[in-house]
């Protein structure tokens, strides 16, 4: 590969690393005790909580808890929060945090629990706080007008070129899914300063064409590469693996296959329903079992 190709590639990879593609999953911290929140996971309470939050808390914490003048953003990826459980958040809302500018919010218990439920969802993934909308219609949009199934698999149906979305709601927040559908350069939630701890699957789906020394041309999407090898999924739906010295030419397409104008190609209702559908695709990871329960022969 020439140096210019490399440069092109890294530019492309930066642009594309933000597609809905990361499979690496982080285990949610299992609760130490049962959650006393009466609204835990209740969709209506999440929506109510959002309204209450945006009525009462935005001066300090910003709309949707994104950023405010006096208080911290409440769901920034990678940020460590002192109060993490629903009861700790409830406690802070009801009683304030002594020694800080956080006052008693003046909400009744029901409203305080609803705000805690909303914040829980903000910090969790889409499945914790799914978007509102017509789910069945969203599914129809996914397969028909949206054309999502051409590239993405869902529960065994659909295309291979993009990431499987069967568990997307357990991996991503609603905002992240929305961004992937609408923004060419959107960011995946990661800890910016984190040091990688393991080799991870490629998070981009760069399209490319390779020509082998014996004259075969194969088009597809890149699945991994290093200085010596290249792995791709071909348009023949076969995984192809190469040593670089077997390749005469590698041409990368510097454009993502993922359309990012779904807010325009779909009506607002269709878009919202698609979001509602996607934000429910997944399973909540079960808490790890205590080791003693594993019978290891």
């Amino acid at each position: 590969m020439t140096q210019s190709n490399r440069t092109l590639l890294s530019a492309g990879a930066m642009l594309l690393s933000s597609t809905l593609a990361v499979f690496a999953q982080q285990a949610p911290a299992p609760g130490k005790t049962a959650n006393p929140n009466p609204f835990n996971g209740n969709e209506q309470a999440i929506m109510d909580g959002r309204d209450i939050f945006n009525r009462s808390c935005t001066v300090c914490h910003g709309k949707d808890g994104t950023e405010g003048d006096r208080g911290p953003a409440l769901a920034t990826p990678g940020r460590r929060y002192l109060r993490t459980s629903d009861s700790e958040i409830f406690e802070a809302i009801r009683n304030g945090i002594p020694g800080t500018q956080m006052p008693r919010a003046g909400l009744n218990e029901t409203d305080a629990w609803k705000v805690a439920t909303y914040l829980h969802g903000l910090r969790g993934t889409a499945i914790d706080a799914p978007a509102a909308g017509n789910i069945e219609h969203g599914e129809q949009v996914f397969w028909d007008k949206g054309g999502c199934g051409a590239c993405h698999m869902l529960h065994g149906k659909g295309g291979l070129v993009g990431p499987d979305l069967s568990n997307i709601a357990a991996l991503r927040k609603v905002n992240s899914i929305r961004d992937a559908l609408t923004k060419a350069q959107h960011s995946v939630s990661t800890d910016g300063g984190r040091h990688d701890s393991a080799l991870a699957p490629l998070s981009s789906y760069l399209s490319l064409r390779v020509t082998t020394r014996d004259g075969r041309t194969i088009t597809g999407v890149l699945r991994n590469q290093d200085s010596f090898t290249l792995q791709m999924l071909g348009t023949d739906n076969v995984l192809h693996v190469f040593n670089r010295d077997e390749l005469r030419e590698v041409v990368y397409e510097p454009k993502s296959l993922m359309p990012t104008d779904y807010d325009q190609r779909l009506t607002p209702d269709e878009f919202q329903d698609l979001l509602a559908f996607l934000s429910r695709q997944g399973h909540v990871a079960p808490a790890p079992r205590p080791r003693a329960e594993q019978v290891i022969q």
């Binding site: 999953q25 529960h155 295309g159 090898t229 999924l233 359309p259 003693a292």
Partner: protein
């Protein structure tokens, strides 16, 4: 509104009906360049027809690549290889690698951060199948790791999932251990639908219930925790079962306790039991009979026979007629045996009185860790030797009380109680690779793995005359299959308790094995 589907995506979508990668025919007659199941072939001989690596050049073998499996603990699994792509089992997950370079292609993890062991995968069509620690059977697309289906494993209170599924006649067959006994279950490979289940502990009215005194069948056990073999001509599936519960105290379960410690032959289409053979009736030493059954067609005492071979954890090497389960021969393959003085004509062990566990601890040889255990044996049709990892030595076996009460069972005392290694120096555990004459069961050669003492690796025989064996202490070794002479070794730097495989890519033969938390692939120098 019109919208554009990107060209490449459209092509991929249209092409999605392309031919399946792995067919039943492939599984019946695997191309030696691939390794399609836990044992590599239905007969579980673990013998590859590849012979690029042979006794003349194995000394120049070197590492080709290493892949670290993130978040794993000592790996005991066996990868599968289909057309240059390797699929690696890990706890509740699968990793796809470029089999030539070890580079990562995709990764699936159902239960994040899950620990424990997963021993293997099954493949069929464009799917790879794995069982997860939260008791699901999952089918993934081999090409992108997408989830095609996931099925909650049948049965109640499933305890542990690490078994390797076996693909037979379009069904994914897997052993499951639960609080009410072991089961072998079949799921439709296309849909994940449960097709049949066979349970190892009989219920009232069923065959075998007479071998449990009173209600003792409720104590359960007989887990089916490894994998099985299959004879496509006889259409019979062979699967080993584990010990009845509690492991070390038989007082509460008078009788032979069927189908604990058995080899069972099942109809893979219906799950119906065709025959069984019980190795250790009324086991009180935890001698699970799950060790891989090896199927060979050979002349036995002048007659061509379809044989099933098993080196059992109890110290005997068995030859059965696999058409009907008839016991043909049993030979002691471990040097020291204190619990049995021999086998009767029908293969029942003659138990030496006073050999059962006691509250104070009672010595038994071989130990509960087994004369051999799950690490796979191998068979070479060239040498006609049966190769097995042998653990010599003795143990002390304890039971919890002399007044057994089912209500005492909870947590670890489910086992009723436990075992330790013998403290006497000459009875310490020691591993050997042992070659047995397949017909007589007599030891032909013996290779001591100095310093290695527990479980150890499985074996791989090759048409190049090499027997690959890891050492528990980390050396991956090549032995001369005829003589046991060591020809090559490489220190992998971690414990080896997995079985090696062979495959070929771009005309180059590779041998791969898990060691610690890494997977290593070896091959010959390129310009030899």
């Amino acid at each position: 509104m019109n919208h554009r589907i990107p060209g490449i995506a459209a092509l991929l979508f249209l092409a999605s009906t392309c031919a399946a990668q792995v067919t039943t025919q492939d599984l019946v007659k695997p191309d030696p360049k691939n390794w399609l199941s836990y044992s590599g072939s239905y007969d579980s001989q673990r013998h590859t027809a590849l012979k690029q690596i042979d006794i003349s050049n194995v000394a120049s073998l070197g590492p080709k690549w290493i892949f670290h499996v993130p978040g794993s603990q000592t790996l005991e699994g066996v990868p599968v290889v289909i057309n240059d792509i390797m699929y690696v089992p890990q706890a509740s997950g699968v990793i796809a690698l470029d089999a030539r370079s070890g580079r990562l292609i995709w990764q699936y993890q159902r239960v994040p951060g899950s620990r424990g062991h997963n021993r293997g995968l099954a493949v069929y069509g464009n799917k790879v199948f794995t069982a997860t620690s939260d008791a699901y059977l999952v089918a993934l697309d081999t090409r992108n790791g997408g989830v095609i289906w996931e099925s909650k494993l049948a049965g109640q209170a499933v305890k542990y999932q690490g078994a390797a599924p076996l693909l037979v006649n379009g069904k994914v067959i897997i052993g499951v251990d639960s609080a009410v006994g072991g089961t072998v279950d079949a799921y439709d490979a296309e849909t994940g639908k449960h097709v049949w289940g066979w349970h190892s502990i009989p219920k009232p009215g069923e065959k075998g219930i007479e071998t449990w005194g009173g209600d003792s069948w409720k104590l359960a056990g007989a887990p089916t925790w490894l994998s099985g073999s299959y004879d496509p001509e006889l259409n019979l599936l062979y699967w080993g079962t584990g010990q009845p519960d509690p492991d070390f105290d038989g007082d509460g379960r008078p009788g032979d306790n069927l189908f604990g410690d058995c080899m069972v032959a099942l109809d893979p289409d219906t799950g119906k039991l065709k025959w069984y053979f019980q190795f250790t009736p009324h086991d009180v030493h935890d001698w699970d009979a799950v060790e891989m059954p090896v199927l060979i067609d050979a002349s036995f005492k002048g007659q061509p026979r379809k044989l099933l071979l098993q080196a059992n954890r109890n110290g005997y090497y068995y030859i059965l007629d696999r058409t009907n389960g008839k016991f043909l021969q049993g030979t002691q393959f471990v040097k020291k045996m204190t619990w049995s003085s021999g086998l009767t004509e029908d293969g029942r062990p003659v138990v030496i009185p006073g050999s059962a566990p006691t509250v104070q601890g009672n010595k038994v040889c071989p130990s509960t860790a087994g004369a051999t255990n799950w690490p796979s044996p191998a068979y070479s049709p060239d040498t006609r030797y049966f190769y097995v990892i042998v653990q010599e030595g003795c143990g002390l076996n304890f039971k919890a009380s002399d007044n057994f009460k089912p209500e005492h069972l909870s947590g670890y005392s489910d086992s009723g109680t436990s075992y330790t290694e013998s403290t006497e120096e000459q009875e310490r555990w020691q591993l050997f690779v042992r070659a047995l004459d397949v017909s007589t069961g007599k030891t032909v050669w013996d290779y001591e793995q100095i310093g290695s003492h527990h479980y150890g690796p499985g074996l791989l025989s090759t048409a190049g005359g090499v027997l690959f064996a890891g050492e528990q202490q980390g050396a991956f070794t090549a032995l001369d299959a005829k003589t046991g002479k060591p020809l090559w070794h490489f220190n992998t730097g971690d414990l080896i308790t997995a079985s090696p495989i062979a495959y070929s890519a771009q005309g180059n033969e590779y041998v791969a094995i898990m060691s610690g938390t890494n997977l290593l692939a070896f091959g010959l120098p390129e310009h030899q």
